[in-house]
Symmetry: C2
Subunit: 306 residues, 2 copies
């Protein structure tokens, strides 16, 4: 048996701080059209795909910070992407900064929506594993202020029925944690979609800079194999406002094999026809849930002080 779904990871090159939302939208729509021309049914865009990755800068003015957020999706500025996708009958997964006005409280998340081929939003995820710091580190060449600008996601790791598959979403640093994949895998997830902004330089641990591509790849491959899932990862790549970011957008099979991979640091599609039934070899075989021993995993759900 095979259940085929053609998917594109839509890597983006850098987005200059001077770009308007309209200019970014044009790039997303161009990638969407290319994907439709290649008969893709689903396009995965990066984390915070509508703007440059503003957590790399210290910003004092809350109004300026909030200018990078969306208060609803679609909104007038992003409606053309939703319209074109519905017209082309291509679904997509879009990372964005989400601002929620919840009564008197304003909340901000690093989020993703999943949009079906008819334009309906059918899935929503808020990034759980925020990396970085809250405070200004002026001695660093750039900041990583996700813990200042966002709060950790409160929706957990959910699986959505869409595109004839069981679909989960992760964002950037989530992908390094085996717990993220396992939570999805235990719900039968067949396809994990994710975007990321990953600087090549880690100011606190520069000895790992040379390994940035390797660690990215290793995390995706292990998560795919250990849960028998397809993993589609889309980068914001290249030098964005002075910050070098890795590319390496890729599609990883449930075997852990990389089956398609980007070759530039610019806007680029990475396409593969994914057989969702290929998950079963691993889900029923070596990683059959009946072979787990949760009675010995207790510490994993505890807060551990070290």
């Amino acid at each position: 048996m095979s259940r085929l779904l053609a998917i594109a990871a839509a890597q983006l090159g850098p987005i200059p701080r001077t770009s308007s939302r309209g200019e970014v939208l044009s790039r997303l729509i161009e990638l969407l059209r290319q994907a439709a021309n290649r008969n893709c049914q689903l396009v995965v865009f990066p984390e915070c795909a509508l703007t440059p990755f503003f957590p790399h800068w210290w910003i004092d003015d809350q109004a300026e910070i909030d200018s990078y957020f969306e208060t609803e999706l679609p909104n007038p500025e992003t409606q053309p992407l939703f319209d074109e996708a519905a017209r082309l009958k291509v679904g997509f997964c879009l990372g964005y900064a989400e601002l929620v006005c919840d009564g008197e409280q304003t909340r901000r998340f690093n989020s993703t929506v999943l949009v079906e081929r008819d334009g309906r939003i059918v899935g929503h995820y808020r990034k759980v594993h925020l990396p970085g710091h809250c405070e200004h580190r002026p001695g660093n060449p750039f900041q990583n202020l996700e813990r200042r600008y966002f709060e950790p996601g409160d929706l957990g790791f959910r699986v959505f029925s869409a595109f004839g598959a069981k679909v989960g979403m992760l964002i950037c640093n989530d992908r390094r944690w085996p717990e993220s994949y396992r939570m999805l895998g235990l719900q039968g997830c067949e396809l994990v979609l994710m975007g990321y902004n990953t600087p090549r330089h880690y100011p606190e641990y520069p000895e790992t800079d040379r390994l940035a591509d390797f660690h990215h790849r290793l995390s995706l491959q292990a998560g795919a194999y250990q849960n028998g899932m397809w993993v589609v990862a889309a980068a914001k790549a290249g030098n964005e406002e002075g910050v070098d970011q890795i590319g390496g957008s890729m599609i990883v099979a449930p075997s852990g094999e990389v089956v398609a991979e980007s070759t530039t640091l610019r806007d680029e599609l990475v396409v593969h026809q994914c057989d969702l039934d290929a998950c079963q070899t691993y889900k029923q075989g070596v990683f059959n849930p009946r072979s787990r021993h949760p009675e010995h995993y207790g510490m994993i759900t505890q807060n551990i002080e070290q």
Copy 2:
């Protein structure tokens, strides 16, 4: 800072069914001496290192099954290994089949002991994740009867203070499960020791045969990186009684990099001087326990029916 510990993974080639315990012991002692000559302080032997891997055969006679087990360690047959190790001041980790007479109940485990440089047993582990099946599958070219001959380990994943490090042990199929590494990592483990017997052919899922080495390597690398631990893995390699087993004994750094690896399917030492302080880059950095979100990991400790 650096805390250096020279370690050898002692790969074994096949052990014929006709080998006596004494003949096997001679091979282990020879590897131990070679390791001492290379200034190693710790030698890791494979899973069930004293015998051929008998779960590959259906055996009816319980007395014959039990002839592959040890009722205590050291015993008269294995004492020479313990004596020579203490004389050389080299510690070791040894996989064996463990028979426990617990009152009227007899219990059997797939186990490992950790022996310090003075000959004392300082750690003990019983394999949690038993692969394979209980029933005879005569249509298969060989059996995988660990679930018939052993019960799952009842000691959990513990960390021992030994060799100036925090040391954990896993056995074979445990290494594919991220939960195994995480349980050790959450206890501050710096060094994971494991042996394995891994057939190249998976009778139920032959489409994965070509990936046996890749999946082995991927699992070790991900476990090391995602917990900032050294991983030392020793194979029983080559064709043992008609069953082809992978080699690939290796030492993996906390970065996930393979720093030493076997090049044969025979008795062979794989040696590296491991800096235990190299763990801190990952334990304090990207995988700092404070960055976990166990409030979203709940299903991992539940029994999930799919």
